[in-house]
Amino acid sequence: MKLRELAHSRTGDKGNTSNISVIAFDPKHYLLLLQQVTAARVKAHFAGVAEGEVVRYELPNIAALNFVMSYALGGGVTRSLALDAHGKSLSSALLDLEIEAPSDHS
């Protein structure tokens, strides 16, 4: 199934760094996100976009992960050649990530 079924997401930008939150709709799926949505998978998913490292921060209180991708905005929001210079649409790309469905999911 797609990550979109279990989580929602928002992208933010600072300079040449993009951050993407991944927030479980239901907190009981946080552990699954923790196991399956790793920094390595996110980096691989954004091949050709995330040119630098991807760091994951964990926020169990709100059942959320925060991915920080450096060198991901075409040299920076204010100088990028990209159509979406802010990378606002990156969150939707991440929700396309394929994940294994939780056992309670019908």
């Binding site: 979109r4 929602h8 997401s9 928002r10 933010g12 930008d13 600072k14 300079g15 040449n16 760094t17 951050n19 939150s21 927030i23 709709f25 998913h45 954004f46 091949a47 050709g48 976009v49 921060y57 926020l59 209180n61 709100i62 959320a64 925060n66 920080v68 075409g74 040299g75 920076g76 929001v77 204010t78 100088r79 050649l81 990209a82 159509l83 979406d84 606002k88 649409s89 990156l90 790309a93």
Partner: protein, 447 residues
């Protein structure tokens, strides 16, 4: 009984809608109305405007916003805080005073916070650029502005001195909201946990509609009612830092745990270290609780001692960007789009266009995330070819769009709707300035 204040967020960016602020002033039962209108690059562009005309350099919508909102705020005793001063807070304050006089509101006290302009200090030292290898000095004569993100102290000082309207230039966005809290509750500037929780409030409010259902809706997954009448948020803050987010009853949009969680992490990197001029805020222990429809409580924000530096945005002339677009449709649209890109790629080489960076996109196919992320997409009915390149001169930039436009008569079948542009790029980069080198101060103008 615990004291509380209600702060409305009247704008989340320079061009934001005006009517939600009217709704907040009329029906929000607020004591403070904050307008965040200054983007990362906006202050640099405003500096350029001020260089051409010393009386300009403040927000282009200032006059319209003030004319609309000042009478409502004056009637209810609502005090305003805004960064609409951009590159010229003094001129913005003079203009606001003039507007107030013309509206018969000459008793209003209007204050400007100045001192965020640190260009001379940045030129005198040679600070390293945070985003790329290099220093301020190496930007040479391309450098034209440097503005420090000021904290809440000078704005709180202006409120303490009785200002009805506080107009600043570059300041941290959450600090615009922190200032009324510090003033109303006499928070100590070294009570790091209070300042950290106050920063949670400021951060949730600063983008206005982004916490009431804007930048959020996804039909079937995250539905939001009545986005065309999206209301802006109100933060109800207690003197202990407790925070309840809400909005005017009957306004469009929604405040839910989901909208608040998304905004909590917006533009945040390490959630334990959200660097602010007044505090290093820690969002990692924040909890979010829906207590009623459109009423969400956020608790657990903390903080540690502020750092010794202030972030500074330096504005510089980076380069030029030339761009061209053209569309193809129907059977074979994708193949013709790809052929068009190949032709332009070769033409730019053949004609020797001097570009340091080039980008070849098919809008509708791979323009947003590149060919690798988009590899499994289906064939679309129409595609739009887009070529963009970075050059050192405007003349070279113009040549890029020209090579796309000539596809009309020299390219694949059925190319339509060609468009081209060439523009200079004013970019911003960041440096860290020892905080004592910025000397903010408050100036009142006569109402």
């Amino acid at each position: 009984m615990m004291r509380t204040i209600r702060i409305g967020s009247g704008a989340g960016y320079s061009g934001d809608r005006i009517e939600p602020a009217v709704e907040l002033a009329e029906k929000g039962e607020i004591q403070y109305l904050v307008f965040e209108c200054l983007g990362e690059r906006t202050v640099a562009l405003a500096q350029q405007a001020r260089m051409k005309n010393p009386d300009s350099g403040y927000d282009p919508l200032l006059e319209e916003r003030m004319r609309t909102v000042l009478p409502l705020c004056a009637a209810k005793g609502i005090r305003m805080v805004t960064n609409m001063g951009a590159a010229n807070p003094e001129a913005a304050a003079r203009k606001t005073a003039e507007i107030a006089r013309s509206l018969g509101l000459s008793t209003l006290k209007i204050a400007a916070v100045v001192g965020d302009d640190v260009l001379e200090a940045c030129k005198a030292a040679d600070f390293p650029i945070l985003e790329f290898d290099g220093t301020v000095r190496q930007l040479g004569n391309r450098l034209f502005s440097a503005n420090a993100y000021l904290g809440a102290e000078p704005m709180a000082e202006a409120l303490r001195a009785g200002a009805d309207v506080v107009i600043t230039g570059r300041a941290s966005d959450p600090a615009l909201f922190l200032a009324p809290m510090i003033h109303a509750f006499d928070w100590a500037m070294d009570d790091w946990n209070l300042l950290g929780q106050g920063t949670v409030a400021g951060h949730l409010l600063e983008c206005a509609g982004q916490v009431t259902g804007g930048y959020f809706a996804d039909p079937g997954y995250k539905d939001v009612a009545d986005l065309a009448r999206l209301g802006f948020p109100i933060g109800e803050v207690g003197e202990d830092g407790s925070l309840l987010l809400t909005k005017v009853a009957g306004s469009g949009g929604a405040i839910t745990a989901q909208t608040c969680k998304e905004q909590l992490l917006y533009e945040v990197h390490d959630p334990t270290q959200y660097l602010q001029p007044d505090v290093v805020a820690d969002f990692s222990q924040v909890t979010v609780e829906e207590i009623a429809p459109d009423r969400v409580r956020l608790s657990g924000g903390r903080g540690t001692r502020r750092t010794g530096t202030l972030k500074v945005s330096v504005g510089y002339v980076d380069s030029f960007i030339g761009e061209g677009q053209i569309s193809y449709a129907g059977p074979g649209a994708l193949a013709r789009g790809r052929l068009a890109l190949d032709i332009v790629r070769e033409r730019l080489k053949l004609t020797g266009v001097a570009a340091s960076e080039l980008r070849f996109d098919l809008i509708g196919v791979d323009s947003l995330h590149g060919p690798q992320v988009s590899a499994h997409a289906n064939e679309p009915y129409e595609v739009r070819v887009r070529v963009a390149g970075r050059t050192e001169t405007l003349k070279e930039a113009i040549r890029i769009g020209n090579e796309v436009e000539t596809l009309y008569t020299n390219g694949p079948a059925g190319g339509g709707g060609a468009w081209k542009s060439a523009r200079d790029v004013v970019a911003v980069a960041s440096v860290l300035l020892p905080r004592e080198l910025a000397k903010p101060r408050v100036q009142f103008v006569e109402g």
